[in-house]
Amino acid sequence: MDRFINFMNAAVLAGTPLLLGTLGEILTEKSGNLNLGVEGMMFMGAISGLAGAWFAEQWFGWTGVPAALIALLISFLAGAFGALIYAFLTVTLRANQNVTGLTLAIFGTGFGNFFGELLGKRAGGFVTVTSATKQAFAKLDLGPLSQIPVLGRLLFSYNWLVYLAVIIAIMMHLFLRKTRRGLNLRAVGESPATADAGGINVNVYKYLATVVGGGICGIGGMYMTMVTTSGVWVHNTILGYGWLAVALVIFATWSPARALYCGLIFGGLMMLRLYLPIPGVPQQIYDMLPYVATIVVLIVMSIRQSKEYAQPKSSGLNYFREER
């Protein structure tokens, strides 16, 4: 039992940055923009969040919660900035979405590693935040809730970013399903010409969804530097998480609600090696599991041919009203 709870805790912690990246990408794809630059935006969010917290400590002496909030804000802005470049290129200049997304992934990786090393040099060797700030990202003590046997440890023993990710997922689900603007956004991603003829400003929706989506990806990146590596810059810290998030969007069939448990499954698959080691099975086999799961989902989806649990129809295509 103890082992299971530990495993679940590890799965949630490993799954949260993936969940954030996935949520950002779902919002982006719902607007018809297939932004493959999640990896880049997470890198940008990772270094900017860490740098934000570090400078807040150095310059203003803010430690703990204020530094954590600065990290949140700056990482969101950095991810949003990456997405803004993407939106400008694809929506306004109508550049190819795949190429632009891949370029953003490469750009963001370089951006993250370059400024990460630079920051480390400036800090004299390696960069690290104060223990008060680290403490702000540690697991919360929710008082009596955390004391409930089993359930307390399963549900109420995480850092605040985990709960933020869950709240974002639920809000995004409600937004897409229940609100008029959510309906409009889905229409833009499915059929921009229809949305346009219905009087919806397609470009505004595409820009906003992409930029906010990028910001959420940025927060996912910040989670990696502030929680996973405890406020220390590690070279190539995101490596592959952004791509896993793109795969997870497919796994979750473009639904923020399903992304919740799909993120947990992926987190679990990544941690399986530590909690369920089978002698003789090399680590690389375990590393393959999330991708194998994605392939299985793709196969199942192509057999079921469902119209609703599918990629927004015009995702990946640019829209131009006067195109003939």
Binding site: R180, L183, N184, R186, A187, E190, S191, A193, T194, A195, D196, A197, G198, G199, I200, Q305, K307, E308, K313, R321, E322, R324
Partner: protein
Amino acid sequence: MTQEDKLAIRMRHISKSFGTVVALDAVDFELKEGEIHALLGENGSGKTTLMNILSGIYYPDDGDIAIMGQDVAICSPKDAFNLGIGMIHQHFKLVDVLSVAENIVLGLPPSEETKRKRLNQTIRDIADRYGFDIKPESKIYDLSVSEKQTVEIIKVLYRGANMLILDEPTAVLTPQETEKLFDILRAMKADNKAIVIITHKLNEVLAVSDRVTILRKGQKIDTIPTATANRQILTEMMVGRKVDLQIERPEVTERKLMLQVNQLTALGPDGRKMIDRISFDAYGGEILGVAGISGSGQKELCEAIAGLCPVVGGSILFETKLNGVDVAENLVGQTPEAIIRKGISLAFVPEDRLGMGLVASHDMIDNVMLKNYRDHKGPFVDRQTAREAAEEMVDALEIVTPGVRTPIRQLSGGNVQKVLLGREIRSNPQMLMVAYPVRGLDINASFTIYRLLNEQKMKGVSVIFVGEDLDVLMEISDRLLVLCHGRISGIVDPRTVTKEHVGLLMTGGHDEEVGA
């Protein structure tokens, strides 16, 4: 008060160019309240462009527009429906995964009116008033084509449109559905709405409209009351010269059995039964027309015979010679390549010309080569023969193209079809299957295609013509096969049956008589 006050729409000197192509050249257009106005013209005459300007899709380069006597500028679709203009596009603008009601309110500001319950009631009220039949909760992907069109019409009515523009609304409907649509249009006219119907079908203009405006090559020819018009006058105005509207049906005395289809059953891409135990014969020297509502199994029938669609039962026997002996070769289970290697020459002009028939980004030479590359041995391709063939085709079929090296994509629809049909005919087929060969083609190009098909028939080729325009099918076919839900509901002699009778067969009526 002046005359102009009764005008719902007045467009003056409207011009619009796309790059160097002038789509509209100083066109005037007037629409009165409570009239059905037909906008007639061939492809590329600018009729859809003119209406797209009204609906805010395009912005005119020059000219001015007045709605109800007020000068306006229409910059976006939103402006258009604020002015009460609603357009029903040829390609429906609906979101598949949303419900009817969601599609109808898409883009409207949220309010009490658009709360789900109230909304559904309003939709039902509109449906009752004009005689529609629709459920607000259905998902679009579950609807038939004519139901989708209904949703489009309700959508613009819900938004309070009193000027409706319908772009080729009958292209996808059966005769019965068309009649129903016309009744709805008349009901709306009685409600004092102004209606424009864009079309190139003359009988529809004559059946439903009050006035007709004819466009040709971006210029307005005239506006006349429909009562003073007839088919001949309208065609001459539309095409610019006298055209013989009679489609020929030359008689061929010698008919040879070419194809026997027996109890054929085939599946669609999703594994559903698309054609169900159908049996018929096709003869050399005849045109066998195939009629049916779209999606009744026409596509699968052609593809099954061409070896492209999985057949689960029945046989397709093709009369041919193998080693000098007359045999009936069963095509079921054979790949197109195996069929070709057996010396059976079967030409197929698919519905999706640029998807299945030709490679859009290749030029004519490469596309011709796709068909005949096997004739040349060795590792290299033979471009010379293909080039000569392509040049001959350009001359023989009067294909308008800058040259045989121009990518097919840049040709107009009629010329693309000529390239495809020309290539297939060059292979001297014993059998020629054409699916919707004149879809999207103007009168001139259509008549060229009919002439080519008749030539093939006179040569003793067995032609199968899958079509959507019943008038054409009834004029050109020697026998007419009617499909309904994947089954044959009748094989009739088009010389003796009525159009209504065929329409009935298309929608599921039964028929005992079998044509000659």
